[in-house]
Protein backbone atom coordinates (compact mmCIF):
# COMPACT_ATOMS: atom_id res chain seq x y z
CA UNK A 1 0.00 0.00 0.00
CA UNK A 2 2.86 2.33 0.96
CA UNK A 3 4.65 1.49 -2.30
CA UNK A 4 1.51 2.34 -4.31
CA UNK A 5 1.14 5.63 -2.45
CA UNK A 6 4.81 6.38 -3.12
CA UNK A 7 4.40 5.68 -6.85
CA UNK A 8 1.24 7.85 -6.94
CA UNK A 9 3.05 10.69 -5.14
CA UNK A 10 5.95 10.44 -7.60
CA UNK A 11 3.60 10.55 -10.61
CA UNK A 12 1.75 13.55 -9.15
CA UNK A 13 5.14 15.14 -8.45
CA UNK A 14 5.95 14.94 -12.18
CA UNK A 15 3.39 17.68 -12.78
CA UNK A 16 2.96 19.43 -9.45
CA UNK A 17 5.97 20.65 -7.51
CA UNK A 18 4.98 24.11 -6.40
CA UNK A 19 1.20 23.93 -5.99
CA UNK A 20 0.67 27.62 -6.73
CA UNK A 21 2.40 27.29 -10.12
CA UNK A 22 0.12 24.40 -11.12
CA UNK A 23 -3.01 26.23 -9.92
CA UNK A 24 -2.03 29.42 -11.76
CA UNK A 25 -1.48 27.47 -15.01
CA UNK A 26 -4.85 25.71 -14.70
CA UNK A 27 -6.66 29.01 -14.02
CA UNK A 28 -4.90 30.59 -17.02
CA UNK A 29 -5.91 27.71 -19.32
CA UNK A 30 -9.51 27.93 -18.04
CA UNK A 31 -9.59 31.69 -18.62
CA UNK A 32 -8.11 31.30 -22.12
CA UNK A 33 -10.71 28.63 -22.94
CA UNK A 34 -13.47 30.99 -21.79
CA UNK A 35 -12.05 33.80 -23.93
CA UNK A 36 -11.77 31.54 -26.99
CA UNK A 37 -15.39 30.48 -26.58
CA UNK A 38 -16.93 33.85 -25.83
CA UNK A 39 -15.13 36.59 -27.76
CA UNK A 40 -15.12 34.80 -31.10
CA UNK A 41 -11.49 35.77 -31.67
CA UNK A 42 -9.51 32.72 -30.57
CA UNK A 43 -6.11 34.22 -31.41
CA UNK A 44 -6.61 36.78 -28.61
CA UNK A 45 -7.09 33.83 -26.23
CA UNK A 46 -3.82 32.42 -27.58
CA UNK A 47 -1.99 35.67 -26.87
CA UNK A 48 -3.41 35.68 -23.31
CA UNK A 49 -2.37 32.03 -22.84
CA UNK A 50 1.19 32.57 -24.08
CA UNK A 51 1.82 35.89 -22.33
CA UNK A 52 0.16 34.56 -19.17
CA UNK A 53 2.57 31.61 -19.05
CA UNK A 54 5.57 33.98 -19.16
CA UNK A 55 4.10 36.23 -16.46
CA UNK A 56 3.24 33.25 -14.21
CA UNK A 57 6.79 31.90 -14.60
CA UNK A 58 8.44 35.20 -13.68
CA UNK A 59 6.08 35.86 -10.75
CA UNK A 60 6.60 32.33 -9.40
CA UNK A 61 10.41 32.32 -9.45
CA UNK A 62 10.61 35.82 -7.96
CA UNK A 63 8.19 34.82 -5.18
CA UNK A 64 10.14 31.59 -4.57
CA UNK A 65 13.36 33.54 -4.01
CA UNK A 66 11.60 35.89 -1.56
CA UNK A 67 10.34 32.88 0.43
CA UNK A 68 13.87 31.90 1.04
Amino acid sequence: MNAMKHVFDEILGMFVDDGSLAIAILILVGFSALLAETIGFPLMAGVVLFAGCLVILIENVVRATRRG
Binding site: A3, H6, V7, E10, I11, M14, F15, V16, D17, D18, L21, A22, I25, L26, V29, S32, A33, A36, P42, L43, A45, G46, L49, F50, C53, L54, I56, L57, I58, N60, V61, V62, A64, T65
Partner: protein, 249 residues
Protein backbone atom coordinates in the same frame (compact mmCIF):
# COMPACT_ATOMS: atom_id res chain seq x y z
CA UNK B 1 5.82 13.95 -40.62
CA UNK B 2 4.37 17.44 -40.98
CA UNK B 3 7.52 19.50 -41.06
CA UNK B 4 10.96 19.73 -39.58
CA UNK B 5 9.73 22.67 -37.44
CA UNK B 6 7.59 20.17 -35.50
CA UNK B 7 9.61 16.97 -35.88
CA UNK B 8 12.98 18.52 -35.01
CA UNK B 9 11.93 19.99 -31.65
CA UNK B 10 9.90 16.81 -30.87
CA UNK B 11 12.92 14.55 -31.45
CA UNK B 12 15.32 16.87 -29.58
CA UNK B 13 12.93 17.39 -26.65
CA UNK B 14 12.34 13.66 -26.37
CA UNK B 15 16.09 12.91 -26.62
CA UNK B 16 17.23 15.53 -24.09
CA UNK B 17 14.45 14.93 -21.53
CA UNK B 18 14.89 11.16 -21.75
CA UNK B 19 18.66 11.57 -21.39
CA UNK B 20 18.21 13.38 -18.05
CA UNK B 21 15.73 10.78 -16.74
CA UNK B 22 17.81 7.80 -17.87
CA UNK B 23 20.96 9.23 -16.25
CA UNK B 24 19.05 9.42 -12.93
CA UNK B 25 17.81 5.82 -13.25
CA UNK B 26 21.29 4.64 -14.30
CA UNK B 27 22.82 6.15 -11.13
CA UNK B 28 20.54 4.04 -8.88
CA UNK B 29 20.98 0.86 -10.95
CA UNK B 30 24.77 1.31 -10.82
CA UNK B 31 24.64 1.83 -7.02
CA UNK B 32 22.66 -1.41 -6.64
CA UNK B 33 25.12 -3.29 -8.88
CA UNK B 34 28.12 -1.88 -6.99
CA UNK B 35 26.84 -2.67 -3.48
CA UNK B 36 25.17 -6.01 -4.21
CA UNK B 37 25.75 -7.39 -7.70
CA UNK B 38 24.55 -7.01 -11.26
CA UNK B 39 21.94 -9.76 -10.78
CA UNK B 40 19.39 -7.78 -8.68
CA UNK B 41 20.22 -4.62 -10.65
CA UNK B 42 19.45 -6.29 -13.99
CA UNK B 43 16.41 -8.18 -12.62
CA UNK B 44 14.93 -4.96 -11.19
CA UNK B 45 15.62 -3.08 -14.42
CA UNK B 46 14.17 -5.76 -16.71
CA UNK B 47 11.06 -6.14 -14.50
CA UNK B 48 10.46 -2.38 -14.60
CA UNK B 49 10.90 -2.32 -18.39
CA UNK B 50 8.35 -5.16 -18.68
CA UNK B 51 5.82 -3.23 -16.55
CA UNK B 52 6.41 -0.12 -18.69
CA UNK B 53 5.92 -2.15 -21.90
CA UNK B 54 2.65 -3.59 -20.55
CA UNK B 55 1.45 -0.10 -19.57
CA UNK B 56 2.24 1.32 -23.01
CA UNK B 57 0.62 -1.68 -24.75
CA UNK B 58 -2.50 -1.34 -22.59
CA UNK B 59 -2.91 2.43 -22.65
CA UNK B 60 -1.42 3.23 -26.08
CA UNK B 61 -4.50 2.21 -28.13
CA UNK B 62 -6.65 4.53 -25.99
CA UNK B 63 -4.81 7.49 -27.55
CA UNK B 64 -6.20 6.61 -30.99
CA UNK B 65 -9.76 6.64 -29.63
CA UNK B 66 -9.55 10.13 -28.12
CA UNK B 67 -10.73 13.04 -30.30
CA UNK B 68 -7.66 14.94 -31.55
CA UNK B 69 -8.58 18.32 -30.01
CA UNK B 70 -9.27 16.74 -26.60
CA UNK B 71 -5.95 14.87 -26.81
CA UNK B 72 -4.10 18.08 -27.75
CA UNK B 73 -5.72 19.98 -24.88
CA UNK B 74 -5.01 17.31 -22.23
CA UNK B 75 -1.43 16.79 -23.42
CA UNK B 76 -0.87 20.54 -23.78
CA UNK B 77 -1.95 21.25 -20.21
CA UNK B 78 0.15 18.35 -18.85
CA UNK B 79 3.13 19.62 -20.87
CA UNK B 80 2.67 23.11 -19.45
CA UNK B 81 2.59 21.71 -15.90
CA UNK B 82 5.58 19.44 -16.54
CA UNK B 83 7.70 21.84 -18.62
CA UNK B 84 7.17 24.98 -16.57
CA UNK B 85 7.95 22.99 -13.40
CA UNK B 86 11.32 21.98 -14.93
CA UNK B 87 11.97 25.50 -16.16
CA UNK B 88 11.12 27.04 -12.77
CA UNK B 89 13.47 24.61 -11.01
CA UNK B 90 16.26 25.14 -13.54
CA UNK B 91 16.01 28.95 -13.14
CA UNK B 92 16.12 28.69 -9.33
CA UNK B 93 19.07 26.27 -9.52
CA UNK B 94 20.87 28.42 -12.09
CA UNK B 95 20.42 31.48 -9.87
CA UNK B 96 21.79 29.58 -6.86
CA UNK B 97 18.58 29.50 -4.79
CA UNK B 98 18.29 25.72 -4.70
CA UNK B 99 21.05 23.13 -4.83
CA UNK B 100 22.07 21.52 -8.12
CA UNK B 101 21.17 17.86 -8.60
CA UNK B 102 24.31 15.85 -7.97
CA UNK B 103 24.59 12.33 -9.46
CA UNK B 104 27.61 11.56 -7.24
CA UNK B 105 25.56 12.48 -4.15
CA UNK B 106 22.58 10.42 -5.38
CA UNK B 107 24.92 7.46 -5.98
CA UNK B 108 26.48 7.87 -2.50
CA UNK B 109 23.07 8.11 -0.81
CA UNK B 110 21.73 4.96 -2.49
CA UNK B 111 24.99 3.11 -1.77
CA UNK B 112 24.90 4.18 1.91
CA UNK B 113 21.28 3.06 2.26
CA UNK B 114 22.04 -0.39 0.86
CA UNK B 115 25.19 -0.74 2.96
CA UNK B 116 23.31 0.22 6.14
CA UNK B 117 20.69 -2.41 5.32
CA UNK B 118 23.50 -4.95 4.85
CA UNK B 119 25.03 -3.94 8.20
CA UNK B 120 21.68 -4.59 9.89
CA UNK B 121 21.84 -8.04 8.27
CA UNK B 122 18.39 -7.64 6.85
CA UNK B 123 16.98 -10.67 5.14
CA UNK B 124 16.25 -10.65 1.41
CA UNK B 125 18.88 -8.02 0.67
CA UNK B 126 18.97 -8.92 -3.00
CA UNK B 127 15.24 -8.45 -3.20
CA UNK B 128 15.56 -5.02 -1.59
CA UNK B 129 18.33 -4.03 -3.97
CA UNK B 130 16.32 -5.32 -6.94
CA UNK B 131 13.31 -3.29 -5.74
CA UNK B 132 15.43 -0.13 -5.57
CA UNK B 133 16.50 -0.64 -9.20
CA UNK B 134 12.92 -1.55 -10.18
CA UNK B 135 11.47 1.60 -8.59
CA UNK B 136 14.09 3.90 -10.12
CA UNK B 137 13.67 2.51 -13.66
CA UNK B 138 9.85 2.41 -13.38
CA UNK B 139 9.47 5.99 -12.13
CA UNK B 140 12.04 7.55 -14.46
CA UNK B 141 10.71 5.34 -17.28
CA UNK B 142 7.16 6.63 -16.68
CA UNK B 143 8.49 10.15 -17.20
CA UNK B 144 10.16 9.08 -20.45
CA UNK B 145 6.91 7.45 -21.65
CA UNK B 146 4.95 10.61 -20.81
CA UNK B 147 7.47 12.81 -22.62
CA UNK B 148 7.39 10.62 -25.75
CA UNK B 149 3.56 10.60 -25.79
CA UNK B 150 3.34 14.31 -24.99
CA UNK B 151 5.68 15.54 -27.70
CA UNK B 152 4.67 12.90 -30.26
CA UNK B 153 0.95 12.12 -29.98
CA UNK B 154 -0.52 15.47 -31.02
CA UNK B 155 0.87 15.34 -34.60
CA UNK B 156 1.49 11.66 -35.25
CA UNK B 157 5.14 11.97 -34.27
CA UNK B 158 5.24 9.05 -31.83
CA UNK B 159 7.87 7.16 -33.83
CA UNK B 160 10.37 10.06 -34.14
CA UNK B 161 9.82 10.91 -30.45
CA UNK B 162 10.38 7.24 -29.51
CA UNK B 163 13.55 7.20 -31.60
CA UNK B 164 14.78 10.26 -29.68
CA UNK B 165 14.17 8.49 -26.35
CA UNK B 166 15.75 5.24 -27.60
CA UNK B 167 18.81 7.19 -28.78
CA UNK B 168 19.16 8.75 -25.31
CA UNK B 169 18.85 5.32 -23.68
CA UNK B 170 21.53 3.83 -25.94
CA UNK B 171 23.86 6.79 -25.37
CA UNK B 172 23.56 6.63 -21.55
CA UNK B 173 24.10 2.84 -21.60
CA UNK B 174 27.15 3.19 -23.87
CA UNK B 175 28.74 5.95 -21.77
CA UNK B 176 27.81 4.13 -18.55
CA UNK B 177 29.40 0.87 -19.70
CA UNK B 178 32.48 2.79 -20.77
CA UNK B 179 33.10 4.89 -17.65
CA UNK B 180 31.36 2.55 -15.16
CA UNK B 181 30.54 5.31 -12.67
CA UNK B 182 27.75 7.86 -12.15
CA UNK B 183 27.50 10.34 -15.02
CA UNK B 184 28.18 13.31 -12.76
CA UNK B 185 29.62 15.51 -15.52
CA UNK B 186 26.36 15.71 -17.43
CA UNK B 187 25.30 19.39 -17.30
CA UNK B 188 21.94 18.35 -15.89
CA UNK B 189 20.64 21.81 -15.02
CA UNK B 190 21.42 23.16 -18.49
CA UNK B 191 19.66 20.16 -20.04
CA UNK B 192 16.64 20.66 -17.76
CA UNK B 193 16.58 24.36 -18.65
CA UNK B 194 16.56 23.56 -22.38
CA UNK B 195 14.00 20.76 -22.01
CA UNK B 196 11.80 22.94 -19.78
CA UNK B 197 11.80 25.57 -22.54
CA UNK B 198 10.93 23.06 -25.27
CA UNK B 199 8.19 21.30 -23.30
CA UNK B 200 6.66 24.63 -22.23
CA UNK B 201 6.68 25.78 -25.87
CA UNK B 202 4.98 22.55 -26.96
CA UNK B 203 2.55 22.97 -24.04
CA UNK B 204 1.44 26.45 -25.19
CA UNK B 205 1.13 25.21 -28.78
CA UNK B 206 -0.93 22.06 -28.07
CA UNK B 207 -3.12 23.77 -25.46
CA UNK B 208 -3.88 26.51 -27.99
CA UNK B 209 -4.63 23.97 -30.73
CA UNK B 210 -6.90 22.11 -28.30
CA UNK B 211 -8.78 25.39 -27.68
CA UNK B 212 -9.26 25.90 -31.43
CA UNK B 213 -6.58 28.58 -31.82
CA UNK B 214 -4.86 28.74 -35.20
CA UNK B 215 -1.34 29.94 -34.45
CA UNK B 216 0.23 32.33 -36.99
CA UNK B 217 2.94 30.45 -38.89
CA UNK B 218 1.51 27.05 -37.93
CA UNK B 219 4.08 24.65 -36.47
CA UNK B 220 6.80 27.31 -36.68
CA UNK B 221 5.05 29.12 -33.82
CA UNK B 222 6.64 26.52 -31.51
CA UNK B 223 10.06 27.99 -32.29
CA UNK B 224 8.80 31.48 -31.46
CA UNK B 225 7.39 30.28 -28.13
CA UNK B 226 10.67 28.49 -27.35
CA UNK B 227 12.69 31.64 -28.14
CA UNK B 228 10.48 33.71 -25.81
CA UNK B 229 10.74 31.18 -22.96
CA UNK B 230 14.51 31.10 -23.52
CA UNK B 231 14.80 34.89 -23.29
CA UNK B 232 12.61 35.11 -20.19
CA UNK B 233 14.39 32.17 -18.56
CA UNK B 234 17.84 33.66 -19.22
CA UNK B 235 16.82 37.11 -18.03
CA UNK B 236 15.17 35.73 -14.87
CA UNK B 237 18.22 33.58 -14.03
CA UNK B 238 20.65 36.49 -14.57
CA UNK B 239 18.49 38.92 -12.57
CA UNK B 240 17.98 36.53 -9.64
CA UNK B 241 21.65 35.51 -9.61
CA UNK B 242 22.75 39.17 -9.46
CA UNK B 243 20.25 39.83 -6.69
CA UNK B 244 21.54 36.81 -4.72
CA UNK B 245 25.13 38.08 -5.06
CA UNK B 246 24.14 41.60 -3.95
CA UNK B 247 22.27 40.18 -0.94
CA UNK B 248 25.32 38.19 0.19
CA UNK B 249 27.13 40.15 2.95
Amino acid sequence: MDSWATAGPAISASFLASFVEIVEAFTIVLAVATVRSWRPAVLGTVSALLVLTLLVAALGPLLDRMPLTALQLVIGVLLLLFGMRWLRKAILRGAGYIALHDEDAAFAAETRELQEAAARREAHLDRMAGLAAFKAVLLEGLEVVFIVIAVGAGRGLLIPASLGAAGACLLVMAIGLLVHKPLARVPENTLKFVVGIMLSAFGVFWTGEGLGIEWPGGDAAILGFAASFLLVGWAATAFLRRRAVEATP
